[in-house]
């Protein structure tokens, strides 16, 4: 009887673990930059990713009439960190411009390294950007 109880508890624990891995957290870090107001908003929805990757700086400029954003990311870990990121653009009314043409790019951050990711607006109408970072393991 005792063996059966242990077996049941173990099975329940295993099922719980499988259930948890099946519901992987696909949230990440979002950095919104508005070139009209100069405001930057950093929103961290994934505590594990937020602990691993810091957003250390945001800059923007205009090249050939198109807005360009530079966002500096720094790894807080000594081991290699793999993330995916995409930068999409919005017009003055907050409407996303051709979101499908901005794919997730892969980024490998070496231990304690800092890199700057850059995004260029799809057209002159793009005035605000949104960088989204997710853990690379969460892409199917």
């Amino acid at each position: 009887m005792k063996f059966l109880k242990h077996l049941a508890l173990s099975a329940a624990f295993a099922a719980g673990l499988i259930g948890l891995t099946g519901c992987a957290d696909t949230a990440g870090t979002v950095v919104k930059t508005d070139t009209l107001t100069g405001a930057t908003l950093i929103h961290e929805d994934n505590t594990r990713l937020a602990r691993r990757v810091d957003v250390t700086g945001v800059n923007y400029d205009t090249v050939n009439g198109l807005k360009r954003v530079h966002i500096s990311l720094a790894s807080t870990r000594h081991a290699r960190v793999r993330v995916d990121y995409r930068i999409c653009w919005f017009d003055v009314n907050g409407m996303e411009i051709d979101g499908d043409t901005k794919p997730y790019r892969s980024l490998i951050l070496e231990g304690r390294d800092a890199v700057t990711v850059t995004g260029v607006a799809n057209s002159a109408a793009g005035v605000s950007s949104k960088l989204r970072i997710r853990e690379a393991s969460q892409s199917e």
Binding site: A8, L9, A11, G19, N64, R68, D98, R105, S139
Partner: protein, 201 residues
């Protein structure tokens, strides 16, 4: 005592079984993790985006787009790799994204058969006698080309034991037709590696 244990076992089994349930077909994100060392859709999407962004902000392009929208043609990219890749589709994606940016105007003379089709249509309009002669399009009025864009895909593959190391390089150049100068050039490199398991295929 017997009932709760049985219930727990039943629940655990149910959860396990539902966790392992799979459907054969599902929609997946466009940008998924690498599955093979071959060139995959996400590689193409990233390459096109990188090339377009690089071209749009190139210093050499600045003087051409300052006061006007230069006319561009894009040649289908050349495939120098061992894989069968639809280079026309990649070329179309580059053209589409550049067109949407609004800095350039495009003509479509490099695509196979386009020039012939245009001539045939103008000729047909004029010779059939169905259209008003004063409104019919006359030949020799098409926009002249300012620049053209071309590119290649090359590949290096190394196999060492069970490890396959694959390297791809997309190169593109933008040429000024008038002077023959290269206005912009860039490349995108992709490297992938896979190790075959000891057992199994």
């Amino acid at each position: 005592m017997k009932t709760p244990v049985s219930c727990l076992l039943f629940l655990a089994l149910g959860t396990l079984m539902s966790g392992c349930a799979t459907s054969n077909v599902r929609e997946v994100p466009l940008d998924r993790a690498a599955a093979t060392t071959q060139l995959e859709p996400q590689d193409v999407r990233r390459t096109v985006e990188k090339m377009v962004e690089s071209l749009l902000v190139a210093p050499g392009v600045k003087e051409f787009v300052a006061n006007r929208r230069p006319v561009l043609d894009i040649e289908p990219m050349k495939n120098r790799s061992t894989q069968h890749i639809d280079m026309i589709s990649i070329t179309d994606s580059v053209r589409m994204q550049l067109l949407r940016a609004g800095l350039f105007r495009f003509v479509d003379r490099s695509s196979a058969g386009t020039v012939g089709t245009d001539i045939a249509r103008i000729d047909q309009e004029n010779t059939l006698g169905l259209v008003d002669a004063s409104k019919a399009v006359k030949a020799g009025q098409q926009t002249a080309l300012d620049m053209y864009l071309t590119g290649t895909l090359s590949e290096i593959k190394n196999v060492s034991g069970r490890t396959v190391d694959q390297y791809y390089k997309f190169s593109m150049i933008l040429k000024d037709l008038k002077t023959g100068e290269i206005v912009w050039a860039d490349e995108k490199e992709i490297r992938k590696a896979s190790t075959r398991p000891v057992f199994g295929m």
